[in-house]
Amino acid sequence: MTGSSPDTQILRRDPATPLWVGTVVLRLVTFGFAIAAVLVHQHGYQRPLLGWVVLGVMACWTAFTVPAYLRERRRPWIVYTDVLLTCALLMTSPLILAPGQYIDVPLITTVWASVAPVAMAVLRGWPYGMAAGFLVAVCTALARGVVNVDVTRDAVLLVGAGLIIGMASTQARATAAQLRRAMRTEAALAERERLARSIHDSVLQVLARVRRRGSELGGEAAELARLAGEQEIALRTLVSSGPQESTANGEADLGGRLQMLGTSRVQVSVPAQSVLLPEEIVSELLSVVGEALSNVDKHAGPMASAWVLLEELPDAVVISVRDDGPGIPDGRITSAAEEGRMGIAKSMRGRITELGGTINLETAPDAGTEWEIRLPRAAGRDGAEGA
């Protein structure tokens, strides 16, 4: 993929960027709240000066983290430091607040302390976010010196914020990763189509010509023609069908996949519209048809041709595999079993039965063999419209 298009630039940004912006806003707002708290309560503090010092540290840290969290490259150590510093500042509260202020006066960091767990959740997802929230909650309890309703409620809110923000950031990243994958697949498909067109317009035309001309010249040229012809068919099949993607619901086009079995001696006929079946069933059918075809090679001889026909009936999918070999002579069924032919038939039958279908072998001396695989379909589904 090229780096300059706006689409890819969006994809390269951290997908959690809006969450970072939210974190920064929260930090600024809560810092204002902290200033207000110190202004209101400073006269009751046992050490007002220390209160202003801590507020100064918070101001510096806020000023440092706002640009740091808005930058595209966020350094994890800043977030870890954020959590630890927040805890440390929180723990200064007993030194600042007068003993009588513990019940109704906020700790020196106020709600500003909630920002660090939120940042951790955005950076690392919910487990880290919850852990950081829990850590800040523990420090709050230590600073207050009691575990009362207020402290418990703060703890629940801190851990809950870590959980929810963390889940949001994890989800945002997962969605972006999915989008990137989809865009890569799309780009690969487009590239493939372009290649297929250019191969069709150049290489294939030449190969077809070589094949035609060579077979007329005969001799060594005919051999070259045969090789060119094989490559031509292989290449045509490759560029016209290609490895087809499964659809989103796990279905694949049986017709497209079957066509890839075509060679100079195997002709595959399929309907124009796709024949969609679940991916596992398509692979299983394909391997059974492949077995039938290799059977043709073994028993009908290397010169035999084979035809594969796929038909989609309203209630079933039917695949026929026929060869024009010598067929099985009447008396040979038993000896053929010893040769393994019937063994293969048995394994094919087993696999088709497993899928809920049937398979039949028809053969006669000098009439070739013909397998017919029939797989009933679940009622009420239409073949997808192609072309």
Partner: protein
């Protein structure tokens, strides 16, 4: 064997190498190659002038569609037959071509002998069917039966026609089919012919209906 006046042919393909090669193959074997063309518009125009018996048509004509060229040619020249000579992978296109009026289809990887034989049979009015095309036509009838068009009667295959098409799709020759179904060779050809005719007629009716619905009836084929 060829009749006294040689069969006149026109070759349409956007690739000069292929086009000239096929033209030479046919001339060497006694065909009268009247013209060649490299795109659909030229093909229709020139065919109207030279009126060949058979037009050999590639479907992949650069940017233009061979299917439209077939439709115009067949509409203009009822005595000219179109044989599609195309790559094996272009399934939907081949089906469209046949529906538009092509009377046969041969893959480009066919040998020169097969090509010559196909051109002769096309000139005689016999359909040239590969197993692949039979599979497509069979699939098309089944698709139409499964989701019929409202308003137009859906063409159907008779039981015998279905049998014949299935056997063609499984690679049997007309002679083998005749033997297996115990009918004459000629009857087999007629059945194949009729499956094509019905499909082409249906296609024309649909086009006319479409044209009338969309107010384009002055140009209907």
């Amino acid at each position: 064997m060829m009749a006294d006046p040689p069969i006149s042919v026109m070759v349409v393909d956007d690739h000069p190498l292929w086009r000239d090669g096929v033209a030479r193959d046919l001339s060497e074997r006694g065909f009268d190659v009247r013209a060649t063309a490299g795109d659909a518009a030229a093909a229709v125009r020139i065919a109207g002038t030279v009126r060949p018996d058979v037009v050999l048509m590639d479907l992949n004509l650069g940017d233009s569609s061979g299917v439209d060229a077939i439709r115009s040619t067949v509409a203009k020249l009822p005595d000219t037959r179109v044989l599609v000579l195309s790559a094996s992978g272009e399934h939907a296109d081949v089906l469209e071509a046949v529906k538009a009026g092509a009377s046969g289809y041969l893959v480009k990887s066919a040998s020169a002998e097969e090509l010559v034989d196909a051109v002769r049979r096309t000139a005689e009015g016999d359909p040239v069917f590969t197993a692949g095309l039979a599979g497509l036509v069979l699939g098309e009838y089944r698709r139409m039966a499964a989701s019929p068009d409202p308003g137009v009667a859906t063409p159907e295959l008779s039981e015998r026609e279905t049998d014949v098409l299935r056997l063609v799709a499984k690679g049997l020759t007309a002679k083998q089919i005749a033997g297996r179904l115990q009918i004459s060779h000629r009857t087999v050809e007629n059945h194949v012919q009729s499956t094509l005719r019905k499909l082409q007629l249906h296609n024309r009716i649909e086009l006319v209906r479409y044209a009338i619905e969309h107010g384009l009836d002055e140009d209907a084929p």
